[in-house]
């Protein structure tokens, strides 16, 4: 029996696959990026529909419920993503600053 939360999970994954595809078609993403993110959404969808495949991992980590494994994994993923985004933003900001200041000083 498919639970409502699984349906929501699948819809979520399909939507994100659509946005990934859209970005790829708009040339905002390379082919490798498209494959990477699509694979993530496919795995997410599979795990949502067949959560028992993760039981072995949950048992190894001594987690009683699969939901705990999902929550902890999601949180870790979000923290990594936030850190990565922060670093990328700072990196881009520094590059923009360097270019804009160099252009301003070069003209004179």
């Amino acid at each position: 029996m498919v639970l409502v939360v699984q349906i929501v999970g699948v819809i979520f994954a399909v939507l994100l696959m659509y946005f990934t595809f859209l970005n790829y078609k708009r040339n905002d993403m390379s082919l490798s990026e498209f494959i990477f993110w699509s694979a993530i959404w496919v795995v997410f969808m599979y795990v949502t529909l067949f959560p028992s495949t993760l039981s072995a991992i949950a048992d190894t980590l001594q987690l009683v419920r699969l939901m705990d494994l999902f929550t902890i994994s999601a949180l870790m993923f979000l923290i990594v993503l936030t850190f990565y985004n922060y670093m990328m933003t700072m990196h881009t900001r520094r590059k923009i600053e360097h270019v804009v200041r160099a252009v301003a000083l070069r003209k004179k």
């Binding site: 900001r93 923009i96 600053e97 804009v100 252009v103 301003a104 000083l105 003209k107 004179k108």
Partner: protein, 219 residues
């Protein structure tokens, strides 16, 4: 002191109504360098109409970046003394000689507002809090850590050269002055507020406090 060694750096963003007047009043005291920080109004054109150097940031980077661009230019062109002031006519350029005279015996000169004017109460409180924090963290007793009217020697600038891109530049200059043990003095300037929606906001103030603590911890 020869005014030809003096560079007056004015960072400006969307100050079309005041920039020409500020430039005209500052010109007698040194070479004026305006840094247009990605203005979306006619600030750049207004500044260009005068015969001063106008550096242009194609996008807005923040006051700290604009000041750094202007000061780097000044040092590159042989400046011995650098004065920085705001483009919104908050600071009276007639006081530049006072700042320059003080540089004879000091590395950095800080302007301080007397707060007798119409400074918003929340900003007055924020200033007082940051001043206390500055004394606690860096051992510098300044009456006004956020005033943008300042002067320093070119040698001092090389030590002060900041990383801050935004309004926290004022605090970074203060903290570096303390850490590098530069000689400093304060000069009283009148408090003038033209637009309460411009300049440092309460959010900026909170960011500045966090950054000051961070600089202390990471230094």
């Amino acid at each position: 002191m020869r005014f030809m060694d003096v560079f007056i750096v004015i960072p400006a963003r969307n100050e079309e109504s005041t920039i020409a007047g500020v430039i005209k009043r500052a010109q007698p005291f040194g070479k004026v360098v305006v840094v247009d920080d990605g203005s979306t109004d006619n600030t750049h054109d207004e500044a260009q109409r005068t015969d001063v150097v106008v550096l242009h940031h194609v996008v807005n980077l923040g006051k700290g970046c604009a000041l750094k661009t202007g000061c780097d230019y000044a040092v590159r062109e042989g400046a011995e003394h650098i004065v920085i002031l705001d483009a919104d006519a908050q600071h009276d350029p007639e006081q530049i000689p006072e700042f320059l005279a003080a540089l004879n015996n000091h590395d950095v000169v800080f302007g301080y507002r007397t707060f007798a004017g119409d400074m918003p109460r929340i900003l007055r409180f924020g200033n007082a809090f940051i001043s206390r924090l500055t004394l606690f963290l860096y051992g510098i007793a300044l009456r006004d850590t956020q005033c943008g009217y300042r002067a320093f020697t070119a040698d001092a600038y090389k030590k002060l050269r900041w990383n801050a891109t935004d309004y926290s530049v004022e605090s970074e200059i203060v903290s570096t002055t303390g850490r590098k043990k530069l000689r400093y003095v304060e000069i009283s300037i009148p408090t003038v507020y033209h637009n309460k929606y411009k300049g440092t906001t309460v959010i900026d103030g909170m960011k500045i406090v966090l950054k000051m603590v961070w600089w202390k911890v990471s230094s």
